[in-house]
Symmetry: C2
Amino acid sequence: MILQVTEKKEIFVQHIQQLQDTICAALELEDGRAVFTEDKWLRPGGGGGRTRTFQKGGVFEKAGVNISEVYGEVTRNMRDYLQIKGDRFFATGISIVVHPDNPFVPAIHANFRYFELYDDQYTKIDSWYGGGMDITPNYLFEEDAIHFHRTLKKVCDRYDDQFYPVFKKNCDEYFSNRHRNNETRGIGGIFFDHLRQNEVISENDHFNFVIACSESFLSAYLPIVKNRKNLPYNEKHKYWQEIRRGRYVEFNLLHDKGTLFGLKTNGRTESILISLPPTVRFDYDHQPGPGTEEDKLLQVCRQPRAWV
Amino acid sequence: MILQVTEKKEIFVQHIQQLQDTICAALELEDGRAVFTEDKWLRPGGGGGRTRTFQKGGVFEKAGVNISEVYGEVTRNMRDYLQIKGDRFFATGISIVVHPDNPFVPAIHANFRYFELYDDQYTKIDSWYGGGMDITPNYLFEEDAIHFHRTLKKVCDRYDDQFYPVFKKNCDEYFSNRHRNNETRGIGGIFFDHLRQNEVISENDHFNFVIACSESFLSAYLPIVKNRKNLPYNEKHKYWQEIRRGRYVEFNLLHDKGTLFGLKTNGRTESILISLPPTVRFDYDHQPGPGTEEDKLLQVCRQPRAWV
């Protein structure tokens, strides 16, 4: 069945609402102690969202699973930032960020969104999908990297065998700290934006692809959490985690378009900055010794690898 | 004596070199344990600097006292960022950031700089001074705020009685987190930029004013450190300090023009980011209870006060 354009918005919104429930329930179970609390918010210009968070869980130090559905007039800031032409917009998405306590468990970030643009008569003039999923380990376990990337590649390959290679490269390029010689935030995943119908792929396939990606979140991440969450760690490991989290903060506040766009367009600050890690260190010129486990991680951030 | 234009650069550079020594020595003495280490660096396009830092001292958790003297071609990024027209530039300055361990001692930031702009024949077409000094307490001690602002006002008043009121207001406006309803980073001080000769004040007076400001650093700050550094504190106070430091990071990475300009123009990343606090927390929607000491500080950040 090819969905009607008008149905897309509704089905996407229903999907992310349900996915928010599913992911929150699974993270609570995996955590064993934490319970999400919910903040519903309204956007003055139109729409709103449902922010769910917890902090200081048994496994996860901070987690946020947010959905939003916003619409209204295209402001000047939006025009500048998104480089779009149009008068009215509708945007909906789910955003997930998890910062585990144990330094051997990677942080994860995922985001899936759908955007519609209209003229001043509310006639749709454009629509597209965007999103991605990436992990940020502090220590490199090659089998985790392979599992994560393989899971994403499998989903991608069901739709187009060019998706994974292109979106993997996008991801490495996007999540990089340009002020640190393009050191990546973590070991990547996939990242895509402006997915529109073209000669090769239908709008419906994009729609299903994005939904399928979002549904792979738990199978991409939870096996890694289970494998690593009980590994013993000491202060030195925690210290390094906090140093790496510093780089995470630098990326999110200096380079992440979603964060900057949200803050500049009067998005809900607390929902946007839930992405920042709970405890962080900024040391002057911190350099792990060559050949250490810490250095091994740095090497793959400096020179992204092919994992599948 | 009215100094020759060509002498200004040299005298300013000599001054900040000497001031770096003086301030480092005084901070080491106050700290009682820390010793600055120095990194000299060269800028590929011309010039370089001398970064002095220490971490985990007895009183100060992180301190940076940096000087630089850079020159060369005006790049496109510089043109866009500084909104300047010219082909060659010379810039020199000193930058000081101190993050104390004890949450009752405020962090301090100061910066004093001199800029010259030339055409392609190296003929000077413009020059100006910029800088300022501000403190970021986690707990409000009114007498500290008064001492700090009074010290700065005294220096300002020696040159122009409009300096303090204008530069104090500049400071409150500049050091504010626009994404948090303009909550200020701390309780301000003074901030000025583009000080150029005009009908009211000579270039030489500006020059002497900036030097006088920079020399007031120790008398503005050290009495506060001495008064508060031995106050007992507990985990709750440290926690709040780290929450406030989160706001400090947000300001520096999202809004501070100096930081963003430095990072976008290939400045030395480690010297620029020495400003970031050593340990930081980002909690979701952290709100101190009404009427608490933490809340009192927040109130003056939301509604800057006149201190003198």
